[in-house]
Symmetry: C5
């Protein structure tokens, strides 16, 4: 768990570059994966896929294919990124956001392209989200991701085999298809959390122990991380659906609205489970405290009854000499012992009756 936490503080709050760097500086993280640029051209039945290093070839590819997807993985090669940005005319501030991978999901409209940031859940771990950046203009989509490996292989397959609507589509439809896959990547994590939460709830009703508490705490942390990742997508998608930007066509808006609905559904689930785990923790604590109180009460009642009895026994254990009639004459009585036992029984019964009358057990 410690590892998760450590990771979290690295994700949550990061300044973009070293203080004092001029805004819009492109400074890559030295530990980032090295950059690989793949180009996919498609539409009109054609299909082209290649790994690109010389970006001047881009123009010819774009002339041959109605739509081109430049799929960049790894953000570690500064020169490659710079060359690509200058070739395509991408704004330095946007490129800065691309390499500083702690952005919230957002959409910024520039004069000749749309800049979109989204976050994908990585490896089924709620604390890990990978930043994805997109530049969209008619006929071109550029996507950047931190690491190779994503949820887009089915889309690439569909493009390759000319299957599905995405092949006829334009770059804005491709953006939708990619975003849709990103939002879908949250569902398995959420389902897993939901199942864990339900499991914990079931377990708590049977028996309470500290592990449950830790699990609930851990789930709450995951839900918080998840909500932090997913929530900005709502606003981002809402802007894409409603704004009258010319980069998104009406037909694609219908699809994005669907994607927006799924986001709302996710946020709704997360909020519900936040409340539910809060209820759960309260219930756990109440139940534990209730049970504990019951136990302690019974134990204390047992002690309280025996302590006066022990006192009586202690009194009759005192070693007073019997040369004086005042010195514990009971000890010499014929029925002294039964009398003492009777005294104890009386005290015990008296206390039991008193406790019962006050409804203490």
């Amino acid at each position: 768990m410690g590892k998760n936490r450590r990771r979290r503080s690295q994700t949550l709050a990061k300044r973009r570059t070293q203080p004092g760097a001029p805004p819009g500086s492109l400074v890559v993280d030295p530990s980032a994966e090295s950059t690989l640029v793949r180009v996919i051209g498609y539409g009109n039945g054609g299909f082209h896929e290649s790994v690109l290093s010389d970006f001047t070839k881009l123009d010819s590819i774009r002339r041959q294919h109605p739509t081109v997807w430049i799929d960049v993985t790894g953000l570690g090669s500064e020169s490659t990124l710079r060359a690509l940005a200058s070739q395509l005319g991408l704004h330095p501030l946007a490129m800065e956001d691309v390499v500083n991978v702690h952005q919230r999901a957002k959409v910024d409209e520039f004069s000749d392209y749309l800049f979109v940031v989204a976050r994908m859940i990585d490896g089924g771990d709620a604390y890990h989200s990978e930043q994805l950046s997109f530049f969209v203009k008619p006929g071109l989509l550029v996507s950047f991701q931190e690491r190779a490996g994503d949820c887009w292989d089915p889309i690439r397959q569909r493009l390759k085999h000319h299957r599905g609507k995405v092949c006829e589509g334009r770059s804005d439809y491709l953006l939708y298809a990619l975003l849709d896959a990103v939002i879908d990547s949250y569902f398995p994590v959420m389902e897993q959390i939901a199942e864990l939460a339900d499991g914990v709830e079931e377990a708590i009703t049977l028996e309470q122990n500290g592990t449950h508490l830790m699990q609930v705490h851990e789930l709450r942390g995951q839900l918080l991380a998840l909500r932090r990742s997913i929530r900005p997508h709502r606003e981002m998608l809402n802007e894409l659906v409603r704004d009258s930007t010319s980069f998104i066509e009406a037909e694609t808006r219908v699809h994005l609205r669907d994607c927006y609905d799924h986001t709302i559904q996710l946020i709704d689930s997360i909020d519900t489970y936040r409340e539910l785990t809060s209820d759960l923790r309260d219930y756990y604590l109440s139940t534990v405290s209730n049970n504990m109180n019951e136990v302690m009460k019974v134990l204390t009642i047992i002690s309280t009854i025996f302590i006066p009895l022990s006192f009586v026994a202690g009194v009759y254990g005192m070693n007073f000499k019997d040369h004086s009639p005042w010195n514990m004459p009971e000890l010499g009585w014929y029925f002294g012992y039964p009398f003492a036992l009777g005294l104890m029984a009386t005290i015990a019964c008296g206390l039991l009756i008193y406790f019962r009358m006050r409804r203490w057990f």
Copy 2:
């Protein structure tokens, strides 16, 4: 209870289809009920009801009757659903929402129909809600539900026997009538929860035990589930009432406003009971802790008084030899025993006075 929870995680967070499936794929749940399509044509005094398997007959039915209600139950037959969707020109994304039954209530306007999703409470169980989907255009309403059995039989009766306004109505009025029945289905569940909550409150003021705690927790869970189901209806109905969509006539808006008012009333009740059960849980815990404190205090005071007394008795029980005048001369005193008893009484009274002075009992 475990069963309820398990169900909940199945309801809350579900991805629509397998990851990577192209958006708009119609993949039915293999465990879904098989599809039955009933057609009801009415208006102008006519009435027609039949189970339909060949959808090409639809056109002739629509020509004969001003309004046609296609009432689909069960979402398990992919081919039937596909045929119906293609016959009526329903959008694949909408059809995907129809078969993935974890949508929130919403309204989406397409160019030639309105797509509405609502959720009905099923079998009086707050954790169970069934998804209902509607396509409305002039003269036609298509409704989809997960299972046979619903709250619409009175409406079908009224259509059959030409009773009530719904018979003269148009498809938008029929939509209203159906939604109205759906919202009404929440009231008995809410009433039941309210009565349970009141019962628990009454019980708690008389006696506190762990069962009450579990009941309050259970009620809170039901209220959360209920709120999650009903809340999106507010927005959905609000859009139907206010939007200038041409699919809803002004006269029907008046009725939908009424339906909207009932939804607000429900949400209001749910929120009030959420707060109330929260108050109730706090009250329970406060009372238990208060009572427990009282009990523990009295028990501890009893112990605390007897422990020093036992100590005194223990001292006089020590077996020191009496060959030395320093070795417990009291044991040999004439009034040694009364003296010891007096000492104990003094200690006990002293402690009692001290405790009373500090207002500890």
Copy 3:
């Protein structure tokens, strides 16, 4: 208290009619009071008051008097209500809301009248609110209430004796005057709750006991009920003040704004007292727990000091034979007893010093 709660669940969540009834059905509650229709005509110096059973006379009364107030008490007579509604052309949905007395305050504009619902506090009991419904059009106001007995007698007196602005006024001013009296009916209840809360707070600072807890809980319940009743009035009055409906004149809007201010003031008071009682409960629990801790600490310290002492006494009470020099030689010492007492005193002092050093008392 139980009675109050029971009543609450009856108020909070009620479906309007039996499930499946067509919308707009007028089904009266069989236990409702029977209907009495009083007509008051006034304006231009004239005044007419009568109990009406034949509604065809209404037209002539309306011709004689500029303004007519139809004051209906009791909602039990279906035929009377139906006759009145049809005579005045009131919408069935509105009439349904009139007889289903669990509506929230609201205003609905129909084409030829305004329909207003408000709730009056009944008999100074926060859990009891009575529904009032109004239809307003130029020259006519129809009011419905559940039971005879209200806060409007002063207004009736003023109308009768031609006193005050209400007599010159129009039907919208009459509506204002009636609503103003309704909002005023909340103040005494709120004042009473405020005084009780202040009393409890004062009491808690002096002494804590479980009754205070119950009182705070009870007050919170009342505030919740009160807030639920009054809050929708804010929106309702806001609509009356701002909307450009033609049924309310500008001059009357000035007065309604005043009424709106009072509502805001009430809601503000209720919210403040909700927070205050929450603070109060927390304070109570903190104080009790704090005091209890103090008590338990002292008691436990006393026990903890005496238990080792008793142990020492117990050791010297063991009956080992003195034939061996290893068997408790202290018992035979000349200063054995003082030595034992000294040992005990040393242990006690040691513990006291240790406890004090760790600041435990």
Copy 4:
């Protein structure tokens, strides 16, 4: 403290007049201070100050001076207030608000003047706020306050000695100057609360006792009262700054914006301190409970170790006859006593090791 609370319930929720009184009735509080009307005329270098009883002289004063400030203190003389209102044409509803001194800050625009209500902190006590009412029209400002004594003397001095911008100003600038002084009156109270809160926080980190709890509770109560007073000013000033009312000039709006900023700053401070005291209370309780747990644990461990030892001693104190070899042969052993002591030491060490292994101390 009790006195403060009592006052609070008198402040929070008050109905304006007796129920049933016609709206707009001017009924003064019999306990109110008697009314004193001072007139200050200024502008163009002139200055006039007098106590006025005959309001017909007002016209001549207004003719001589560009701006006239009618400064009314005390709201106890009904006839004086009536005369003034009728002379100046003030609306009865506004006058009713003037004498019912439990209004929230607000601004109402009437056709020929602006009616403004504000609340001033009185005597540095957060629970005490005094209502101030203003009527503003070009060349005239009427102010009403409950009691003589306010924070406006510096403004009066500046007017008298022709110092500062207020002397050239118009009535709307005078309004600003007065409101600015009113908002400023909150700062010392807030500073005092902030210092107390910081003091309590410092004290709590050193030592926890019940007084701190009471102080935190008291501070929270004061913050609640303060927030309730100040918060409506935000909306009021916002309306004055933004609304296109003709009674406030653009130049004055710049100044009112400054005043608005201060109000926001105050509310922000209050909210921060509400959160801070809530954190503080939680911290106090956590710390106390944490310390208490530590203490109880150590004490209980001590008891738990000695109780089995005492039991062993008790066993060897039993008076079984030694005629049977089965009756406690240890008592007759040569090393019986060391054996018993060793047994006890073993038990004690065993328990200590066990407790340590389970990390209980």
Copy 5:
């Protein structure tokens, strides 16, 4: 820590000047640093830097350089500030805000300049923020700060060495560059808090002690202070980005939007960590209370078992004479002692079985 708190109350709530001072009075804090005015002229390849005391020279500098930055540090010299303000025509109310260094971040538009307030984190301490004020008009930016030493040296270097976009830029771009550096100053503090929080969380899962509690409390206090500083920047930057003020050019808005995004990101992190520390505190308390309960239960069970045993031993320690067959015949039995031990063992086992059956351990 005490020092931090003390500082806080000095920061949070301060009235601007002495009560009664006319609005817009320029009263400097006597303890403020003395004022130093540096002028930097740049643009068109030129660069001028000087310390200015005679402000009449300003005009000639402004004629020589397209953009002039007047960089004022220290707010202690009233005459210098007055001279500067009159030379540049700065509004007295704005100047008052400049010297009263407890303003929230804001933007006020005056007719011929924009007035912007921001707060910079000072010395990496969340409780310390320094107020920065800016006046912007075409070709001129005036900045005021409380103390020498800031985060702007890299910008000064870039201006001096003609590096970066800021050199070509206009005054609004300079404003952006400065604000960007200010927002960046929050990130290291936030990172530090995040790391501390993660460290505490890790520590708490291993072992719970009161220091963690104090650390969490301290972190929450810092987050509250940080949020209070940063939050108003959101609104301020939003106004700069969206408002159609002519002082900010479209190109600069793109950059300010980036700055706005960083602010949102910060606030988001702070809110997440507020929730997280709240969860953490709850988790700490739950765990401690859970562990404590376990410990107390075991200890109490041990006591409860031995107390009845001690009682039995006490009974057999009573000194009843054996002249009567009723006086503890067991003491004389041949197997009396084994019988007594057996009795004790039976009681102990019975209790253990009973406790186990009720699942108490």
